[in-house]
């Protein structure tokens, strides 16, 4: 009886832990625009190197620059890099295309 309860608890923990990690990771990706770019520069000085991970396993690399009198933001100065997806990271499905959005295309940009 005691052993059964112990097994049940162990199974519950094993099931809940990944769920908890997934939820936390999804929440970290769910913030509005710019928050990740600002967070990585929170304890940095202007011009210090920075990088952060965006949606879809995008990696942004740049330096911290002032976007207001107090707040630094990571200004990308390299093309967006693709990083290898973490197979345990199910939050990569957090995708605006899932929600019926479509993008404006920059038809004229290369003209």
């Amino acid at each position: 009886m005691h052993e059964n309860r112990w097994r049940q608890s162990l199974w519950s923990a094993a099931l809940l832990l990944p769920l908890l990690l997934i939820t936390q990771k999804a929440a970290a990706h769910a913030g509005p625009l710019n928050k990740a770019a600002m967070a990585v520069c929170k304890d940095k000085q202007r011009s210090q190197a920075c990088q952060y991970e965006g949606h879809h396993n995008d990696l942004y690399i740049g330096t911290c620059q002032y976007m207001s009198d107090e707040d630094l933001i990571c200004v990308r100065n390299k093309p967006i890099q693709q990083i290898e997806p973490d197979p345990s990271d199910t939050s990569s499905s957090h995708d605006n295309t899932d929600q019926g959005t479509s993008s404006k295309h920059n038809e004229g940009e290369n003209n």
């Binding site: 769910a30 990308r76 959005t101 920059n106 940009e109 003209n111």
Partner: protein
């Protein structure tokens, strides 16, 4: 909505970028350059002839000016009507949740990079899902009509960082007709760019002026906008209107492009307040520059120093100012009206659903 600039100025004539007193010597511009202060022999500075017809409401002049670093030089004095000279802005917000992208504008992608997203009726209807926040409700669930700022009063009350309570849960849009009849913006930009000392690199309050005469604005205060449950709708060109900047761009979407050198390089889109050119993010092959400096600038033998714009949803056009700029009268730093601050009450407090709000 350019909400970083919410201090009311006594006149609707704004000194948007770089207006300075004591500019007593003037001459009308015939696309001339003053290279006496140039440290970069290739960079030519602004070419007035590349601006589109209707960009200015007065003939550009060259005037004496002084940069924030104390360098005495000459500046272009550019006066605009605070609107794109070549087209009418809009459309912005959808009117119903059934409106398609043909009738509506755009907004930043939540990813913070890539193209803007279509601000369709469906997008408005699914904001709770998109932002993973059930408090979003920008439309009337009975009628499907989208709540938007349909009057001058609503526009001025909403198009600011401290969005008035009654205008939360609104799609924000303004019309040029809401501005004063004599609304204008005056830019003072060094005729020849002067590289700033590394300890005097300035932040971007305004990114400059587009080739159609509209302002290239600094970053929009997205956290405040979304924190007030508003969408500061752009048109498909990535711009919108407020009381202080008129129509201004927060995003580069190809609407002011000019292929200057016909060499496959990215098109020119405008000029920064320091006089350096800003080119689009991608070249004719769709490629980005591999390595830019911290301001998103680079140098080549044809163009000299110049910037490359960020992607449309990145909420910045350039990263900082490589060159010296001119201090606006009565304002600290360069680039325009004082920056805005967070709304009263700060972030993270979902506002109550306005009971008296109604869809227009």
């Amino acid at each position: 909505m350019g909400l970083s600039k919410f201090h009311l100025l006594p006149t609707m004539t704004l000194f948007a970028a770089l207006f300075v007193g004591g500019c007593n010597k003037t001459s009308e511009v015939v696309a001339q350059q003053d290279n006496t202060t140039a440290k970069d022999p290739v960079t030519k500075g602004i070419d007035i002839s590349l601006f589109k017809e209707g960009a200015f409401i007065k003939a550009p002049e060259i005037v004496d000016c002084e940069t924030t670093a104390g360098t005495k030089t000459t500046c272009y004095k550019l006066v605009t009507a605070g609107r794109p000279g070549t087209r009418a802005p809009g459309p912005f917000c959808p009117r119903t949740i059934n409106d398609t992208s043909e009738d509506t504008g755009a907004w930043f992608s939540k990813e913070g990079s890539g193209d803007l997203v279509d601000l369709t009726g469906d997008f408005i209807a699914n904001l709770s899902t998109y932002y993973d926040d059930p408090n979003w409700q920008l439309y009337d669930t009975d009628t499907g009509k989208v709540r938007y700022t349909a009057t001058q009063e609503a526009c001025f009350g909403a198009a600011r960082p401290d969005v008035e309570e009654q205008y939360k849960q609104n799609c924000i849009e303004c019309e040029m007709s809401y501005l004063e009849e004599d609304f204008s913006l005056t830019y003072l930009i060094p005729t020849t760019p002067i590289p700033a000392d590394s300890d005097r690199i300035e932040r971007v309050r305004t990114a400059g002026i587009a080739l159609d005469g509209a302002e290239l604005a600094g970053p929009a205060p997205v956290d405040e906008i979304l924190g007030s449950y508003t969408i500061a709708a752009f048109d498909d060109c990535g711009g919108h209107i407020n009381a202080h900047q008129g129509y201004h761009y927060h995003s580069v979407n190809g609407c002011t492009n000019i292929d200057v050198n016909h060499d496959g390089y990215a098109p020119l889109i405008g000029y920064a307040p320091d006089g350096y050119a800003i080119y689009a993010m991608r070249d004719a092959q769709g490629k980005e520059a591999e390595s830019l400096d911290e301001c998103r600038g680079t140098t080549d033998p044809i163009r000299g120093y110049h910037y490359r714009a960020a992607s449309p949803s990145e909420n910045m056009i350039i990263g900082c100012l490589h060159g010296e700029t001119v201090r606006p009268v009565g304002m600290e730093g360069a680039g325009g009206p004082p920056p805005g601050g967070p709304p009263p009450g700060g972030e993270g407090h979902p506002p109550p659903r306005p009971d008296d709000a109604h869809a227009h």
